[in-house]
């Protein structure tokens, strides 16, 4: 693959961006605080639209030197925005430590800190989303917290793909007209407020464009190397304030500006972009045909555009950062794939964007590639080429399993076929679906613990669930399963109750008119997206973690209830964190998920189906379904910290299996094909919220054409096996060193030795050293 030249302009923009310290920003908080008090009597939707418009009018803006795509939500890049309406209680304790905390520190200005402490915190104490939710479900939420993490209590929802095509087609002025037409016919006050809010928000967005146009013109006049570029940017921002996008450059600017606007309205994670190569292609093609654009010109614009996605970050509390460590803001872009008739939709932009990713090597946008049975060899090779650099992008999705799963979840064939990815790996329709994909995380390993230990927590001894028995009393494996199901019912029911309250509070207190205007269904029905206006409404429940559950159940079924290990003895060992290493060895030696063994893998599918069936009994506040996800981002670490020793041999507090459907660390011993085969035994048709599989490869896998070919063949098999998602870590020297230190944890690390591939930790130290030295040259 030809890597585009990173010009001096791009290199400087990138360096400057990464050099600029992250700062906490309260500028928008001040505006929200003021407008809220001025418009106490307005409906929340109207009040929020006014606060948003004020922000568009007042926020200090700047243009980075030489950038061709402009816009940000704060003056600085990568600032952490304080958003009082959602949840700021954590700041009370954490704000002083914000500049020095280990995970994602932000610099603070003493005046801003004083404003937060003296003004915001006291005033908003009982008015935030968080406090209102707590007032309603606090005790219940706390009671189930060891098992279920109810998300989105402290920030707006996000997790959605707006209708980018519509935004390009109409722009803020066109959408404003559309809202006005609906406003004329609106029959209730609620609807009138909603349409009026859209009108206000769109006015604000146009104003924001004009302010950037003016600033760019000012900089052009100041005369400098980029004067001509600033002039261009100024002109196109002026046009976009009033008109739809017409050129490729305008389209890129418009798409980015939409992302900025959505962030200013919601300050939320995971506003994703869907199939950007498709939406932008007509503009690209037209510009090429009409001689306005060259491929090199398009690359330079795309480089500028991709850089922007790294300029907005999410400021989280210390606790949240543990669950979403290093997880940035979730601007996901998908490339390639097919349509509902099976026709392949890869185009030149799919390839250009991969090349841009290779050149920039930045974490955002979170680039995803859609594979299907017809994916071109060139596209697979291009993906492999970017993956070879490490960093895990693009992650790969499988049209052949995802499209049917989304249809099963209620999407039309056409909407399912044009799916995109939200945030990390969540599946969603583009521009028509509020998936609430990260609604809750359900720790099934903890539920098993409570099932086996008489409803008591192994770590604290607290009663967290009803006592249905214990491993010392259940007479059969079937009795264990029955009790496990009953305990799951118990928590699922309470989880739904909590989530629905949270969902309702978002509709009540955090309606998002601007977002609603670009989600299909809302405008037509006059209902905000947070209240169920979208065509599709669902809530995603993450089942955490299949590998530990299955491996534990296999031990119970095949050892304990086959008379090879006493239930009472095992329970005692769980309580004592495997005081007896021999018992722990015995369970570690039992068959494990990830080795293509039908006897374990059949359990995996059984419990996925049970959970999916169970969730289907319920409806969320927006009238949509609950559906199942198998991914955890980084939550397997904190969630594992909360689980005592488990029957699979995992010690108390140790992380659960990673990813979502990955085998437990060190459990898989037969390599990548066996992992994929085990994963494929899951019924993906029922996993419509998304799944995550992590795999690791040595970088040498990508060096020789012959092994790269085999990697691409592995991807084709991944498609044929019907697994939703896979991502590849290409191993670094650092990891090899860590593997040397802790071999058990890295048992699955595959490495190209000489003429063959081997497990790194099984090699002699001297050879490992040699490989590390070799890898150093390679990476």
């Amino acid at each position: 693959m030809e890597i585009p030249v990173v010009s001096v302009r791009i290199q400087r923009l990138k360096d400057d961006m990464l050099r600029e310290p992250r700062r906490m920003s309260v500028e928008q908080a001040k505006i929200i605080h003021r407008i809220y008090q001025q418009h106490l009597d307005d409906a929340p939707v109207l009040r929020r639209a006014k606060a948003l418009r004020a922000a568009f009018e007042e926020i200090t803006i700047r243009i980075e030197d030489g950038e061709l795509v402009v816009g940000n939500r704060t003056w600085g890049v990568r600032s952490g925005v304080v958003f009082p309406e959602c949840g700021i209680a954590w700041m009370e304790e954490e704000i002083d430590g914000l500049p020095t905390r280990p995970q994602d520190p932000f610099l603070t200005d003493p005046e801003d800190v004083a404003f937060v402490k003296d003004v915001l915190l006291p005033f908003w104490k009982d008015k935030t989303l968080e406090s209102r939710i707590y007032q309603e479900i606090g005790p219940l939420d706390d009671a189930i917290a060891p098992v279920v993490k109810i998300n989105q209590k402290v920030r707006a929802q996000g997790h959605i793909i707006p209708d980018i095509s519509k935004w390009l087609r109409l722009g803020p002025a066109g959408i404003k007209q559309e809202a006005e037409a609906y406003l004329d016919r609106a029959d209730t006050q609620e609807k009138r407020d909603f349409y009026e809010s859209i009108r206000i928000a769109m006015d604000g967005a146009s104003t924001y464009y004009r302010r950037y146009a003016a600033l760019a013109a000012e900089r052009a006049q100041a005369g400098c190397a980029f004067a001509q570029d600033y002039q261009t940017v100024s002109e196109l921002c002026s046009r976009l304030a009033e008109q739809p996008a017409e050129t490729f450059h305008e389209a890129l600017q418009a798409v980015w500006m939409l992302m900025v606007c959505l962030q200013m309205e919601s300050n939320a994670a995971s506003f994703s972009l869907g199939r950007l190569d498709q939406y932008l292609y007509p503009y690209y093609q037209k510009d090429l045909q009409e001689g306005r654009l060259t491929e090199d010109g398009a690359l330079e614009l795309l480089l500028c555009f991709f850089l922007k996605f790294n300029q907005i970050v999410c400021m989280r509390s210390g606790l949240e950062a543990r669950y979403f460590a290093g997880f940035p803001i979730g601007f996901n872009i998908v490339l390639g794939g097919r349509d509902e008739t099976g026709a392949l939709l890869e185009n030149e932009l799919s390839f250009l964007m991969l090349r841009v990713q290779k050149a920039l090597h930045l974490p955002q946008p979170n680039l995803s590639a859609r594979l299907c049975s017809k994916s071109s060899p060139a596209f697979l090779e291009a993906c492999a080429d970017v993956l070879a650099d490490g960093g895990g992008l693009p992650q790969l999705f499988n049209d052949e399993s995802i499209i049917p799963a989304l249809e099963q979840a209620g999407l039309s064939r056409e909407d399912a076929a044009s799916y995109g990815i939200v945030g990390c790996v969540e599946l969603a329709g583009c521009g028509n679906m509020l998936g609430w994909s990260n609604a809750t995380m359900f720790n099934v390993v903890k539920v098993l613990e409570l099932t086996l230990n008489h409803g008591r927590c192994l770590l604290t001894g607290q009663n967290l669930a009803p006592d249905l028995g214990g491993l010392d009393t259940y007479p059969s494996y079937e009795a264990v399963e029955q009790a496990l199901r009953a305990q799951m019912f118990y928590f699922i029911e309470r989880m739904v109750q909590c989530h629905n309250a949270v969902d309702r509070h978002h509709g009540q207190y955090l309606p998002t008119a601007l977002l609603s205007s670009v989600v299909d269904g809302c405008m037509e029905r006059g209902i905000d997206v947070t209240c169920g206006g979208a065509r599709y409404n669902s809530s995603g429940v993450q089942f955490v973690q299949i590998a530990n559950l299955i491996d534990s159940l296999a031990v119970l079924r095949d050892l304990v209830y086959q008379g090879k290990l006493s239930g009472s003895v095992l329970l005692l060992q769980l309580q004592r964190n495997f005081e007896d290493p021999a018992i722990r060895r015995q369970v570690l030696e039992a068959p494990k998920y990830g080795n293509d063994l039908p006897q374990t893998d059949v359990l995996a599918n059984q419990w996925v189906r049970f959970m999916a069936d169970e969730l289907e009994q319920y409806r969320n506040y927006r009238g949509g379904r609950f559906h199942l996800g198998l991914y955890t981002v980084s939550a397997h670490v904190p969630m594992g910290a909360n689980v005592g020793a488990s029957c699979d041999g995992r010690l108390a507090g140790q992380p659960l299996a990673d990813g979502g459907i990955s085998p437990s660390a060190g459990a898989e011993r037969l390599g990548p094909t066996a992992i994929l085969k085990s994963a494929s035994s899951l019924e993906f048709l029922r996993i419509s919220n998304g799944s995550l599989l992590n795999m690791k490869f040595s970088s040498s896998m990508f060096q020789e054409p012959s092994s790269r070919e085999r990697f691409c063949a592995l991807l084709r098999s991944f498609v044929a096996l019907g697994i939703h998602h896979v991502q590849f870590n290409v191993v670094s020297r650092k990891e090899l060193l860590a593997a040397q230190k802790e071999p058990v944890k890295h048992r699955n690390l595959l490495i190209r030795v000489a003429g063959y591939t081997a497990y790194f930790v099984e090699l002699d130290q001297s050879l490992q050293d040699e490989i590390i030295r070799r890898t150093e040259c390679v990476l």
């Binding site: 293509d596 094909t673 070919e709 002699d764």
Partner: protein, 306 residues
């Protein structure tokens, strides 16, 4: 029933990407008539199961001694001593070591039925299809368990699986012809061009081997000749030319040069076997470049590594 034919297999390795085309599963048959002094898989030489003992993992707990029904294993200050004459390969000590000890003991070689091997190989069919891969029979020496291998191959062929055989080719012509009948690609070891040197290095003459190689080529079987390049044995001045002349004469179109490595070193100690190449450094890819250059003047396609 082919399922009732047993054979000794010491490993079935998935995702092999250097033993023939595509993604493959390699079945390692135990037992080899050759005794190559540099052999990297000494556990593959004997047909019967063998105990492997890793001193560095041993906890000196003595549970293996208690577990052995024949009194064939003893704990000493320096770890355990296995009386290989008393060992029947029952595996009691291995189990004890896995649960109570440090996993220092392992059994090399498993008796498997044809059906078991076939089922394991078929598991990765989807990967063979997407990559043009298949199964590779390796060893040890597949010829040493020809009936077993043949029975496996017959079943795999019913599923359209491509079969490569990695062989030293040391067998009577009738036996070799049987091997060829189910093989789609031969990865044929040519360890030395000179008969006396071959005998000294491997314990057998290369006359029958070369005759079989010639037969395979004559009958149009796809063959890749593989030369393990062993320091001081077959990389002396003039060796490359001699190999070239030989391979050209036989009609070989493709050859691989496999650099000598030391991955087998640790296994000799674990098996209590003597190793002649203890202090010989591994060869690197670069070391083989001159030989490759020479060979390329005789054989159309030469690559370093498999």
């Amino acid at each position: 029933m082919s399922g009732e034919i047993f054979g000794a297999v010491f490993n079935i390795q998935k995702f092999c990407i250097h033993d023939g085309p595509g993604i493959r599963t390699t079945v390692f048959f135990k037992g080899c008539p050759l005794r190559c002094r540099w052999c990297a898989n000494p556990e593959s030489q004997a047909v019967h199961s063998q105990m492997m003992y890793d001193r560095s993992l041993c906890l000196r707990c003595g549970y293996c001694e208690k577990a052995c029904p024949n009194g064939g294993i003893h704990l000493t200050d320096d770890g355990v001593v296995i009386d290989r004459d008393l060992c029947t390969g029952c595996g009691s000590c291995v189990n004890a070591c896995a649960i109570y000890g440090g996993k220092a003991l392992s059994m090399q070689g498993d008796l498997k039925t044809v059906d078991e091997v076939v089922a394991e190989v078929l598991k990765d069919q989807v990967f063979y299809q997407s990559s043009g891969g298949g199964a590779t029979f390796s060893g040890g020496e597949v010829l040493s368990q020809l009936e077993f291998a043949e029975a496996i191959a017959v079943q795999l062929k019913r599923h359209g699986i491509h079969i490569a055989c990695e062989t030293a080719g040391y067998a009577p012509p009738e036996a070799f012809r049987r091997l060829m009948s189910f093989t789609d690609l031969l990865l044929f070891d040519v360890k030395h061009h000179d008969e006396a040197s071959h005998l000294a290095g491997t314990g057998v003459s290369n006359a029958q081997i070369l005759a079989n190689l010639r037969m395979a080529v004559t009958e149009g079987k796809p063959v890749i000749a593989r030369i393990p390049v062993i320091p001081g044995f077959n990389n002396r001045p003039g060796d490359a030319e001699a190999f070239g002349l030989l391979l050209r004469d036989i009609g070989i179109q493709e050859a691989n040069l496999l650099p000598f490595h030391q991955f087998g070193q640790g296994k000799y100690e674990k098996l209590a076997m003597e190793y002649d190449y203890d202090d010989v450094p591994s060869l690197q890819k670069e070391d083989l470049e001159p030989m490759k250059k020479v060979l390329e003047t005789y054989v159309s396609k030469v690559q370093i590594g498999g």
